[in-house]
C-alpha cells in the first residue's frame, strides 16, 4: 500500500550566552559537576528568576532569521513535572504566548525548493543531567546545565521524507551558526531534535496517528530513525493494524525505535503563567536594532557569492550551506583571489577530507591560509596541479605547511632549462620513431615526450617549460 509520511520537528538549541537564562552562573560545557551553580539555578527555597536579556536577544535573532512574527509581549509559563534533574519541580518555558510565531525556512532537496513552516520559537531553561553509577544502583545529578538558555523551534508538519527533515534540520543549524547563537553540536546535545511522524494515504487531508521520536543525536540518526519508523508504521498499517500514539526512543546500536511511554502515561504538565516573571516586552525599536545587527544569512551570502565572485548557483549554495565552509572560502580568497579555483579545491579536495573526518571543517588540518599558499604555488608554476594534490593530502594528514612538505620531499618543480634540456635530448635520442613522427607533422606525439620527461623527473618538471624545450629541440 502507498503511504505518505508527515513529519514535524521540535528542535532545541542551547544559546551561547555567557551566563544562564535566570541567574549569573557560567554556561561553559564540561566543567566539573555542580561547579556552575548558585541558589537560583539550584532552585533553593526562596529564590527568584531574573531574565537574561541576552538570551532574549539571541532568540529574537533566530526569530527574525526564520521569518517569524515576534510577539510584542510574551509570557513565561511553568511546565510542572517531577524529575531529579529538575530542581524546582518545574521548567520555566513559554506556552500560550511564545516569543515568536509563523515563520518559515526554505530547503532544497534534489534541486527542488520547498518551504517548511515554523509554528513557533520560544525560550526556556535547560534541565540538569543525571549520571548513573556503573557499579552501584545510585544516580548523581549535575546541575551545571540547569538554567542554560534554550530556544525550542517547532515546525509545521510540512516534511514528507526523512531527507526533507534532515535538510530542514541542517538549514536550522546553519542559521544558528551564522547567527553565532548556538554551537550546533548534536553529539554534546547543544542541538537536539525530536520528530513527530505519522503516515497517511497520499492525497488524504487527514493526519494519521503520530509517534514522537527522541534520542537522535546526529543527522544520520534522524534520517535512520525516520526511515525505520516509516517502515514500522507502514508494515502495521498494511496489515490493517493501528498505530499507537506514543513516545519512542531511537536505539542507534540496534537501529530501531522502542516505545518509551504511551499516551496514558503522558505527562499533564499543568502549565500556568510563572508569577515570578513579568511578561517579556519587545518593542519595535529593540526589534529593529536586532534586525539591523543581523549578520549576512545563508541565502544572502549565496547570492553574493554569485554576483561578487561569479560562482555558479550550485557552487554558491554548496559553499554557503555550511557557515564554516563559506568562511573558509572567503579567508582563502583573501590570499588567493581566484574564486572559481578556490571553490573547486574546496568542493573536491577539502570536502573529501571533511567527510572523512566526520567532525566538521574545524577538524581538517589544512587551514584556509595554507590552502591559499598551495594554490599560489601552482599558479606560479612552482609545482604542478597533480603534485599539489599529493601535497594537499600530506597537509591534511600532518598539518604541515605546503612549503615544508615540498622541500622535505624535494617536490619543487624543475624549472632549470639546462637540466631539463639534457634529459630531453636523451629522450629524443632514445625514441627515433616518435621523433620522426613529430617531424612528419604528427604534433600529437608532443604529449608522449612531455610524459616521458615527467616520468624521468618524477613529475617535477615544469610542464610549460618541458613543452617549450621539446618544441625547440624537435624543430632543430
Amino acid at each position: 500500500m502507498e503511504f505518505e509520511a508527515v513529519i514535524g520537528l521540535e528542535v532545541h538549541a542551547q544559546l551561547l550566552t555567557k551566563s544562564k537564562i535566570f541567574c549569573g552562573c557560567a554556561t561553559t560545557f564540561g566543567a566539573p559537576p555542580n561547579t556552575q551553580t548558585c541558589p537560583v539555578c539550584l532552585g533553593l527555597p526562596g529564590v527568584l528568576p531574573v531574565l537574561n536579556r541576552k538570551a532574549v536577544e539571541f532568540a529574537l535573532k533566530m526569530a527574525l532569521a526564520t521569518n517569524c512574527t515576534v510577539a510584542p509581549e510574551s509570557v513565561f509559563a511553568r511546565k510542572n513535572y517531577f524529575y531529579p534533574d529538575l530542581p524546582k519541580g518545574y521548567q520555566i518555558s513559554q506556552y500560550e504566548l511564545p516569543l515568536a510565531e509563523h515563520g518559515y525556512l526554505d530547503i532544497t532537496v534534489d534541486s527542488h525548493s520547498k518551504r517548511i513552516g515554523i509554528t513557533r520559537i520560544h525560550l526556556e531553561e535547560d534541565a540538569g543531567k543525571l549520571i548513573h553509577s556503573p557499579s552501584r544502583p545510585v544516580s548523581f545529578v549535575d546541575f551545571n546545565r540547569t538554567g542554560v538558555p534554550l530556544i525550542e523551534i517547532v515546525s509545521e508538519p510540512d516534511m514528507r521524507t526523512p531527507e526533507e527533515a534532515v535538510e530542514y534540520l541542517k538549514g536550522l543549524r546553519n542559521i544558528l551558526l551564522y547567527l553565532e547563537i548556538c554551537d550546533g553540536n548534536m553529539e554534546e546535545g547543544s542541538l537536539r531534535c525530536d520528530a513527530n511522524i505519522s503516515l497517511r494515504r497520499p492525497g488524504s487531508a487527514e493526519l494519521g496517528v503520530k509517534t514522537e521520536l527522541k534520542n537522535m543525536n546526529s543527522f544520520r540518526f534522524v534520517r535512520q530513525a525516520l526511515e525505520y519508523e516509516i517502515r514500522r508504521q507502514r508494515a502495521l498499517l498494511s496489515e490493517g493494524r493501528e498505530i499507537v500514539q506514543e513516545t519512542r526512543l531511537w536505539d542507534a546500536a540496534k537501529g530501531q525505535t522502542f516505545s518509551m511511554r504511551g499516551k496514558e502515561e503522558a505527562h499533564d504538565y499543568r502549565y500556568f503563567p510563572d508569577p515570578d516573571l513579568v511578561p517579556v516586552k519587545v518593542d519595535a525599536e529593540w526589534l529593529e536594532s536586532i534586525r539591523r545587527g543581523l549578520p549576512e544569512l545563508p541565502a544572502e551570502r549565496a547570492a553574493r557569492f554569485q554576483t561578487e565572485y561569479g560562482l555558479p548557483t550550485a557552487d554558491a549554495e554548496v559553499l554557503t550551506s555550511d557557515k564554516a565552509l563559506a568562511d573558509y572560502f572567503e579567508t582563502c580568497l583573501q590570499d588567493f583571489p581566484q574564486p572559481k579555483k578556490v571553490a573547486n579545491w574546496i568542493m573536491s579536495e577539502l570536502m573529501r577530507e571533511v567527510k572523512k573526518e566526520e567532525a566538521g571543517i574545524d577538524a581538517v588540518q589544512v587551514t584556509p591560509r595554507a590552502l591559499a599558499r598551495l594554490l599560489a604555488l601552482v599558479d606560479r608554476g612552482e609545482i604542478s596541479g597533480k603534485i599539489a594534490k599529493s601535497v594537499f593530502d600530506e597537509m591534511a594528514a600532518t598539518g604541515k605547511d605546503p612549503e615544508a612538505i615540498i622541500k622535505e620531499k624535494g617536490l619543487v618543480q624543475i624549472s632549470d632549462t639546462a637540466a631539463l634540456e639534457a634529459q630531453a635530448r636523451e629522450i629524443i635520442a632514445a625514441h627515433p620513431k616518435e621523433t620522426a613522427d613529430y617531424r612528419a607533422g604528427k604534433t600529437k606525439v608532443m604529449g608522449f615526450f612531455v610524459g616521458q620527461l615527467m616520468k624521468k623527473t618524477k613529475g617535477q618538471a615544469n610542464p610549460k617549460l618541458a613543452n617549450e624545450i621539446f618544441q625547440r629541440l624537435l624543430s632543430e
Binding site: 541558589p39 539550584l42 532552585g43 533553593l44 527555597p45 526562596g46 529564590v47 527568584l48 528568576p49 531574573v50 531574565l51 511553568r78 510542572n80 517531577f82 531529579p84 530542581p87 524546582k88 519541580g89 518545574y90 545529578v141 499533564d268 499543568r270 502549565y271 500556568f272 508569577p275 515570578d276 516573571l277 513579568v278
Partner: protein, 490 residues
C-alpha cells in the same frame, strides 16, 4: 524608664544612640525573656543566641563610631520562611526541619545592613498555609492575651512575639491576610505592603503572585521605620516595583482633616461578630472625630474573593512546593524506587493542610480544568482589582474589619477548614488586588481579646494608610495595653 523589652523601636532607638543602653544589654535582656517565656506561647522555632549577640556587638561598634541608623541594635524576630544565611529556616515544616539557607533574603540583608539584631525565627502555619499557626510542624503558637486562643496566622509567631515583648518588632508575610489577621488577634500593628513594594527574594514562596513581606510592630511609627529599611526595588526580584520608596515617617503626625475614608458596605454584613462590629464602628467614629469624611462605597465582587483565592493560591503553591522532593535538601524518606521516594517524602514531610492545598492546586491546573478554575479565578481577580480602583476614585483610604471574629480557641479552626477559609474574607481581596493595608488595634472583645481596624489604600498608598493609622493610634490607647499574662513577667 520602662523595662527594656517593653519599649518600642521609636522609644529604644534614641536611648541606644545616646548610649544610655547598649545593644548587647538589650539583646541579652530579650534572650533572657525568650528563654523564660517562649515555651508558654511557642513564638520562636529557633533562637539564635550566638548570632544575635554577635550582631549586637557589631551594632555597638557602629553606635560608637556614630554610624548608626534608627534600627541599629534593635532586636527583631523573623518569620521562619525568610531565608537567613546559615540560620535554620523551616517554614514551619518537617520537610525543611534542618534546612540551612546559604544566603540571606533581601529583607534580612537590608536589616543587617541597618545594624538590626536578628534574635531568631518565629513560628507560622506550615508554608504560610493557614490562619491560626496551628498548622505548624512545631506546634501551635498561643495568643499572649489568652493562651487558650490562637494567635491567628500564618504569621502567628511574628505577632505573638511582638505582643509578648519577645522582640521589638518582627517581619511577617501576607498572602491572604497572614500579617494583618494575627496582628489584629494579638493587638499589634501589621502592614501588608503593595505587591512589589518589598522584594520577595528569599521569601519561601507560598503563592508567588500574592505573597508580600511586611512589618509587625508595637506601634505604627515602628512599622514605618521597618518599611524604610525593607521597601524598595530589588534587581533580584523581577516583580519588585521600580518605584522609589518614600520616607514612610514623613506622613506620620499629619492630621487627617478632610481625608475621605470609604466604608465598603460588603464588609459589614452577616457573619460579623458583634464585638468586632462595635469596635470597628467606634473606630470609624473616632476617625470622623479626627476630621475624616466617611463615604459609603461598594466592592461588589467581594463575595467571589475567597473562591478565587482558593484556586489561585493553591495552584501556585502546588507548583512552588514541587521542589521539596527529597532529592537535594530537606527530608528524604526512602522508597523502593524514585516515585515511591517522592511519595513517601512528601506524604511524611508535609502536614495535612499543605497536602490538601497541593492537591487542590494540582487539580485546578490539570488539563481540562485550567479554563474553568485558574483562568476564571484570574478573571475574577481583575474584577476585584477594578472594584478597588472604582472605590479609590471616591476616597483616599478604606476602613474595614480585619477578621470577622476575635481570636478563636485552639482547635476550632483545624476541625473545620472551610470556616477557616471563610475567616479570610476581609483580608483576601487586598492580596488579589495587590494593594496595601494595615491592621491597627481598635478595641477589645468582651473576653478581652484584641480587635483590629483595617485601613486599605491604593497601590503604593502606604504613606496615606500609615498616616490614617497613626492618627487613629495617637487618638486612642488600645496599643498601649499589654496582655495580662505578660504583666509582671520580666
Amino acid at each position: 524608664m520602662k523595662e527594656l523589652h517593653r519599649l518600642s523601636i521609636s522609644e529604644l532607638s534614641p536611648l541606644l544612640s545616646q548610649r544610655q543602653v547598649s545593644p548587647v544589654e538589650v539583646t541579652e535582656s530579650l534572650l533572657h525573656r525568650i528563654a523564660a517565656l517562649n515555651e508558654e506561647i511557642n513564638a520562636y522555632i529557633t533562637v539564635d543566641e550566638a548570632g544575635a549577640l554577635a550582631q549586637a556587638k557589631l551594632a555597638e561598634a557602629r553606635l560608637g563610631k556614630g554610624e548608626a541608623g534608627p534600627l541599629t541594635g534593635i532586636p527583631l524576630a523573623i518569620k521562619d520562611l525568610l531565608a537567613t544565611c546559615g540560620l535554620r529556616t523551616t517554614c514551619g515544616s518537617r520537610i525543611l526541619e534542618n534546612y540551612l539557607p546559604p544566603y540571606d533574603a533581601t529583607v534580612c540583608a537590608r536589616l543587617r545592613e541597618e545594624g538590626a539584631v536578628i534574635l531568631g525565627k518565629v513560628n507560622m502555619d506550615e508554608f504560610a498555609m493557614g490562619s491560626s499557626t496551628e498548622n505548624s510542624a512545631f506546634g501551635p503558637s498561643r495568643n499572649p492575651w489568652n493562651r487558650e486562643c490562637i494567635t491567628g496566622g500564618s504569621s502567628g509567631g511574628s505577632a505573638a512575639a511582638v505582643a509578648a515583648d519577645l522582640c521589638l518588632a518582627s517581619l511577617g508575610s501576607d498572602t491572604g491576610g497572614s500579617i494583618r489577621q494575627p496582628a489584629s488577634h494579638c493587638g499589634v500593628v501589621g502592614l501588608k505592603p503593595t505587591y512589589g513594594r518589598v522584594s520577595r527574594y528569599g521569601l519561601v514562596a507560598y503563592a508567588s503572585s500574592l505573597d508580600q513581606i511586611g512589618p509587625i510592630a508595637k506601634e505604627v511609627r515602628d512599622a514605618a521605620l521597618l518599611m524604610n529599611a525593607i521597601a524598595g526595588y530589588d534587581n533580584k526580584d523581577s516583580t519588585s516595583a521600580p518605584v522609589p520608596a518614600p520616607d514612610y515617617l514623613e506622613t506620620l503626625g499629619r492630621d487627617i482633616k478632610g481625608l475621605k475614608v470609604g466604608v465598603p458596605k460588603e464588609y459589614f454584613g452577616q457573619g460579623l461578630n458583634a464585638d468586632v462590629e462595635t469596635a470597628v464602628k467606634n473606630a470609624l467614629l473616632t476617625l470622623e472625630g479626627l476630621g475624616a469624611e466617611m463615604v459609603e462605597v461598594s466592592l461588589p465582587h467581594t463575595e467571589y474573593a475567597v473562591a478565587a483565592y482558593y484556586v489561585i493560591a493553591p495552584a501556585e503553591a502546588s507548583s512552588n512546593l514541587a521542589r521539596y522532593d527529597g532529592v537535594k535538601y530537606g527530608l528524604r524518606v526512602p522508597g523502593a524506587n524514585l516515585l515511591e521516594m517522592y511519595a513517601n517524602t512528601r506524604t511524611q514531610g508535609f502536614g495535612p493542610e499543605v497536602r490538601r492545598r497541593v492537591m487542590l492546586g494540582t487539580y485546578a491546573l490539570s488539563a481540562g480544568y485550567y479554563d474553568a478554575y485558574y483562568r476564571k479565578a484570574s478573571q475574577v481577580r481583575t474584577l476585584i482589582r477594578r472594584d478597588f480602583e472604582a472605590a479609590f476614585e471616591k476616597c483616599a483610604v478604606l476602613a474595614a474589619p480585619v477578621a470577622p471574629t476575635p481570636a478563636p480557641r485552639l482547635g476550632e479552626m483545624v476541625a473545620d477548614p472551610l470556616t477557616m477559609y471563610l475567616s479570610d474574607i476581609f483580608t483576601i481581596s487586598v492580596n488579589l488586588a495587590g494593594i496595601p493595608a494595615v491592621s491597627v488595634p481598635c478595641g477589645f472583645s468582651r473576653e478581652d481579646l484584641p480587635i483590629g481596624l483595617q485601613i486599605l489604600g491604593p497601590p503604593f498608598g502606604e504613606p496615606v494608610i500609615l498616616q490614617a493609622a497613626h492618627a487613629f493610634e495617637q487618638a486612642t490607647d488600645f496599643h498601649r495595653r499589654k496582655p495580662q499574662w505578660c504583666e509582671g513577667k520580666s
